[in-house]
């Protein structure tokens, strides 16, 4: 059996995804980081960006995560985010509209959010 790590992706008000995975790639403030089973205990600050989880069944789960933390210890990985969406929960058309609106209004935060969501949605 391949080594696995248990991943829990939790948003402030719900658990978004949890399960077994072989690799998790997330973007911290100092760059992308990939975590595989047996990684050193880690605690990092996440940038808003897509998180890629390679599940042990061979599938891939992509989520848009806006700020938060990654913590890994004892083969348990937690991704804490204030808001997080799985790629298939994202409404592409709505986000495209949102992106346009944000660009028009010069709302950098909303623009970044929409952009991250769209990029996460593009991978599915």
């Amino acid at each position: 059996m391949a080594a696995e790590l248990h991943v829990a992706l939790v948003a402030a008000d719900r658990e978004v995804w949890s399960g077994e995975a072989t690799l998790v790639v997330a973007r911290t403030t100092s760059g992308d980081i990939g975590v595989m089973p047996g990684h050193q205990p880690l605690l990092g600050v996440l940038e808003s960006g897509p998180v890629t989880i390679r599940t042990s069944e061979g599938g891939t789960v992509v989520a848009a995560v806006h700020g938060g933390f990654i913590s890994f210890a004892d083969n348990k990985l937690s991704l804490l985010a204030e808001t997080a969406e799985l790629s298939d929960e994202i409404d592409v058309q709505r986000e495209e509209r949102e992106l346009e609106r944000a660009q028009a209004e010069g709302d950098a935060i909303a623009e970044r959010r929409a952009d991250v969501r769209l990029r996460a949605a593009a991978t599915r």
Binding site: R14, T28, L42, L43
Partner: protein, 305 residues
């Protein structure tokens, strides 16, 4: 229909209408308690993981951070009081307000200034009526608080604690909210949010002698703590808001249940009284008829003779 009977009938009608309303409110509150409890449960994983992370940084590094170190002399403290927007919840709001006032008195006795922050119209009305100063207040979301609401509440608190006390900042933050123990028990309590006492947090986070691993911090322990603590405060405020909402609904349910029960009892007593009045009326009518006919019979019998 006699006047007495009519009065009873009218009162029964009005009490029945009230009973219907309180019954409906009871059932609404009951369904909302369940929803609120579910929200508390849904927010738990985030809160637990966050507490774990805070403990890990706090105990695993020698970082000194303004949010974890106790000021030598506390000049000013902030008290955040969570009440509800609407009443009809028994002693829910007055208990929370009482707890806040006890806390304020205690802090003032220790020679600290107290800034009060209030959530919910009830608490605000109480303070405004007594013309007490309120640093900031929010209302309109106490029934179903969202994480965004918690963020708006937490923002000025975090800002205040990061400021120097000389510029109007605070040294510690206390929160007064109603803990949801069970459907029947909710207790108003106060808690110190900041500065964190890491020992207590640690006790909560790990049950029995679990040793936390040595973490690698990315980018650095200070940065992680900087980012973590505001989130920690927000999540604590969010949790308190959710618990207060659940408690409020439970208190409403209980208050409305006893109101419904009382209305039922009142209806019963009133219908007994109405029955007695009706019976008295009938008896009176019969005795009048009997008396009348007897008098008539006497009169005719007399004329016959």
């Amino acid at each position: 229909m006699g006047a007495q009977l009519r009065v009873y009938k009218r009162r029964i009608r009005s009490v029945t209408a009230t009973k219907k309303i309180t019954k409906a409110m009871e059932m609404i509150a009951a369904s909302r308690v369940v929803k609120a409890q579910r929200k508390v449960a849904a927010s738990t994983p985030y809160a637990t993981e966050l507490t774990r992370a805070v403990t890990a940084v706090g105990t695993g590094s020698n970082t000194k951070h303004p949010l974890t170190t106790q000021a030598e002399t506390v000049v000013r403290s902030a008290v955040l009081l969570l009440t509800s927007d609407r009443g009809l919840a028994g002693a829910f709001n007055s208990n929370a307000i009482k707890a806040a006032e006890q806390l304020t008195a205690r802090l003032e006795a220790e020679g600290k200034q107290v800034d009060t922050y209030i959530v919910g119209r009830r608490g605000l009305a109480h303070y405004n009526f007594r013309e007490r100063k309120v640093a900031e207040s929010w209302s309109g979301f106490t029934d179903e608080p969202t994480y965004a609401d918690a963020k708006t509440v937490a923002a000025p608190l975090i800002e205040a604690i990061e400021k120097d006390t000389a510029d109007g900042g605070v040294d510690e933050i206390h929160i007064v909210f109603t803990e949801f123990v069970s459907m029947m028990t909710q207790t108003a309590l106060d808690d110190r949010l900041l500065p964190l006492s890491l020992d207590e947090v640690a006790k909560e986070a790990k049950p029995a002698g679990e040793i936390l691993p040595l973490y690698d911090f990315e980018p650095s322990a200070e940065d992680v703590l900087d980012a973590l603590l505001p989130r920690y405060v927000e999540s604590r405020v969010y949790n308190a808001l959710l618990q207060s909402a659940a408690s409020k609904h439970a208190a409403t349910r209980r208050a409305m249940k006893s109101a419904t029960d009382n209305a039922g009892e009142l209806i019963e007593t009133l219908s007994r009284l109405a029955n007695a009045a009706r019976q008295a009326e009938i008896t009176q009518e019969i005795s009048e008829i009997v008396g009348g006919s007897a008098a008539l019979a006497d009169a005719t019998a007399g004329s016959d003779r």
